[in-house]
Symmetry: C2
Subunit: 98 residues, 2 copies
């Protein structure tokens, strides 16, 4: 599962299982809304469901970021090697908050 | 496809086909990101993909809203019956813009 250039530190992603489960639920939710659109359901009903999916997606992103802060960043700081990790986090936040 | 209590007006949802296609693509994208999480891929890569999905979702919502404005609202105004439709739109926007 780990890449070849792994160092001696081990990036433990505590929340990965929960992240996978959340993405699986979101996938099912998107499929259900696609079916609503196929069934010509009302626009406001579809919009509410899309808003719910977006919220679930944001909560999942928050969990990925938590994993990243708790594992990767802490490890990087221990190794005095945090610049790249901090830049990655900055880039990730840029894509969410415009 | 239409409900039984359809009136003489016909709600033509011009963008429904495109909405279904976009949701199908988003569904596949979520499934791919779920696989990335299972494969223990880097957090910043996953965050960037989630941000891309959110953007695609917002664009889809915009299209649903366009459909709603162009068909349902215009029809309702023609019938002097726009209060409920306007309230629905307000509720939908509330769920997106907080």
């Amino acid at each position: 599962m780990k890449s070849d250039h792994e160092h001696q530190h081990h990036h433990e992603h505590k929340h990965r299982k929960s992240i996978v489960n959340r993405l699986a639920r979101i996938e099912g939710h998107v499929r259900a809304v696609k079916q609503m659109a196929l069934d010509d359901r009302d626009c406001p009903d579809i919009l509410l469901q899309i808003a719910a999916i977006r919220k679930a997606l944001d909560n999942t992103a928050k969990l990925v970021l938590t994993d990243h802060l708790e594992s990767c960043l802490v490890d990087a700081v221990h190794e005095g090697n945090e610049e790249k990790v901090l830049q990655d986090i900055k880039n990730s936040l840029d894509s969410f908050i415009r």
